[in-house]
Symmetry: C2
C-alpha cells in the first residue's frame, strides 16, 4: 500500500522535481553522492522547460491587470529597513511532470515519454487553460487567475463543468501541496452556481480549512474577475503522502 | 433568469442540435415554415461532422472488445418474431456543440466559431479522451468505455483528477439528458479511491437515483475494464431546463 501510495503523486512542479530526481537517480550507481546528483539534474532535461504561467500574447486586459496586481506583491516588502518577506509567490507551471511513471501492464514507454500535464497539453496560447497561481503562505491562501479558452466548451458558449473541476483540483491541490507537501486528491465536492462564458477571465481563490493528521481540507470559490459574480464553490480533501513513501515508489 | 437559464445548455449532441436550430433559425424570415427550416438544416453544417464515438486505430484490445460487447446489443432483439426493442443505444459524439453562444461582453465572434467541446478538442486519436457512451433506457443506466490518453496526466503516470471529473460530468450529464431532456450540472461530488494509469481502459457506469421536479440525481462509478478494481465513485445533480426556456434564449 505504501508502495502504491508512493507512486500516486500530484503532477505539481515541486513533486515533479522530487519524483523526477528519484527516477533518474535510480539509474545512477549507488556510490554517486547526493551533491553530484543534484548538480547533474539540470542536464537531464532535454531543454529548459517553458514556464506556462508567464504572460503571453493571448492574455486579455483583465488577465494582465490581475497578474500585475499579484506579481507586483511578489517582491520583498521592507518596513523601516527591515525585510518583511514577500506577500505572494508566483508558482511556475510546466507541461510535463516527469518521465517517471507508475508502470503496470497498461503503461508503455511511449506513453511515459509523451505524457503531458492535462492542463498544459495544448501549446496554442489562449486556446485552452491560461492560468497562473500565486500563493500567500502567511495568510494560508492561494489565488489563481484563469482565462478560459475556446477549446474548453461544455454548454454552448460556456466552460465545461469538467474544465472548471480541473482548475479547482489544480488550485486546491497546489494549495494543499504548498501547505502539506506531497498529496493526492481524495474528494472534490463542487457546486456550480452560474456558468462561465468562454473567453472570460475568472478568479479562483482557495483557503485552508483544516489540517488533521494526513488530511488537508481546502475550500475554494470561482468568481468573475471583479469578484461580483459567484460562479462555483467547492471543497476539496487531500491525503498526504510522505516523502519517504515517495522515495520508496 | 429564465432567459439566462435558457442559454445554459449542456453541450450534448441532442441539445446542440436544438440550440443550433434555434440560433440559425433566428436569421431566417419569420414566414419560413418549420418543415422547410428542418430540411435546410443539414446544409448549414460546413461538412458532415465526425462521430468521435466510432472505433479508430488508437483503440486498444480492451476498448474494442467492450465496444463490440455493447454494440452487438444495439440491434433490435426479437422474441418469437415479436420485436422487443434494442437493449442499448450507442450515442454519437461530436467535437462541437453549435455556433450559437451565450454572448456577453467577453465573447467574440472568433471564439464562437472556434469553440470545441472540451472532451473532443484534440484530433490526434488516442492522445486524450477516447470514449463511447451506450444508454439503456429500460434499465435507466448508461455505460461509458473510456481509454485515457497520454495528454491527460495528473499524478505521474496516472490520469488527472480533473480529467476523471470531466468524464464523470460527461457520462452522468448525458444520462440525465437522455432521461430528463436539457439539463445543467448543479453539483458533482467525487470520491477518488484509486488512481487510473495513463493508457488504461476503464468502465464508467451511471444509474438513475431520483427524478424530483426539476432535479435529476445520477450516481456513477469508475472501475477497471474487468470490473474488479474501483477507481472512483460520484454523485451528480442536474437541473432541468425546459425547451421553452431554451427557445427563448
Amino acid at each position: 500500500m505504501a508502495r502504491r501510495l508512493g507512486r500516486i503523486l500530484r503532477g505539481f512542479q515541486s513533486l515533479g522535481s522530487l519524483a523526477f530526481m528519484k527516477s533518474e537517480l535510480s539509474n545512477l550507481p549507488a556510490s554517486v553522492s547526493l551533491k553530484s546528483m543534484v548538480r547533474a539534474l539540470p542536464s537531464l532535461f532535454s531543454s529548459n522547460p517553458r514556464d506556462f504561467s508567464l504572460p503571453n500574447s493571448s492574455w486579455g486586459t483583465e488577465m494582465r491587470q490581475l497578474y500585475e496586481h499579484y506579481n507586483s506583491q511578489c517582491e520583498a516588502v521592507t518596513d523601516g529597513g527591515e525585510e518583511q518577506g514577500r506577500l505572494w509567490n508566483r508558482l511556475p507551471s510546466y507541461n510535463r511532470s516527469l518521465k517517471y511513471a507508475a508502470g503496470g501492464v497498461y503503461l508503455s514507454k511511449i506513453i511515459q515519454a509523451k505524457a503531458r500535464l492535462f492542463t498544459r497539453n495544448i501549446r496554442d496560447p489562449g486556446a485552452a487553460f491560461e492560468y497562473v497561481i500565486f500563493a500567500n503562505k502567511k495568510e494560508q491562501r492561494c489565488v489563481c487567475i484563469f482565462q478560459a479558452g475556446h477549446l474548453l466548451e461544455g454548454p454552448p458558449g460556456n466552460v465545461h463543468g469538467g474544465a472548471i473541476a480541473t482548475m479547482i483540483d489544480t488550485v486546491t491541490g497546489t494549495h494543499a501541496c504548498v501547505h502539506s507537501g506531497p498529496v493526492m486528491t481524495a474528494n472534490l465536492n463542487i457546486n456550480y452556481r452560474s456558468p462561465i462564458p468562454l473567453g472570460s477571465t475568472v478568479l479562483i481563490e482557495s483557503s485552508l480549512d483544516k489540517k488533521e493528521g494526513r488530511k488537508t481540507l481546502v475550500s475554494c470559490k470561482v468568481t468573475s474577475a471583479d469578484g461580483t459574480r459567484l460562479h462555483t464553490e467547492a471543497t476539496a480533501l487531500f491525503v498526504s503522502i510522505g516523502v519517504s513513501q515517495l522515495m520508496k515508489g
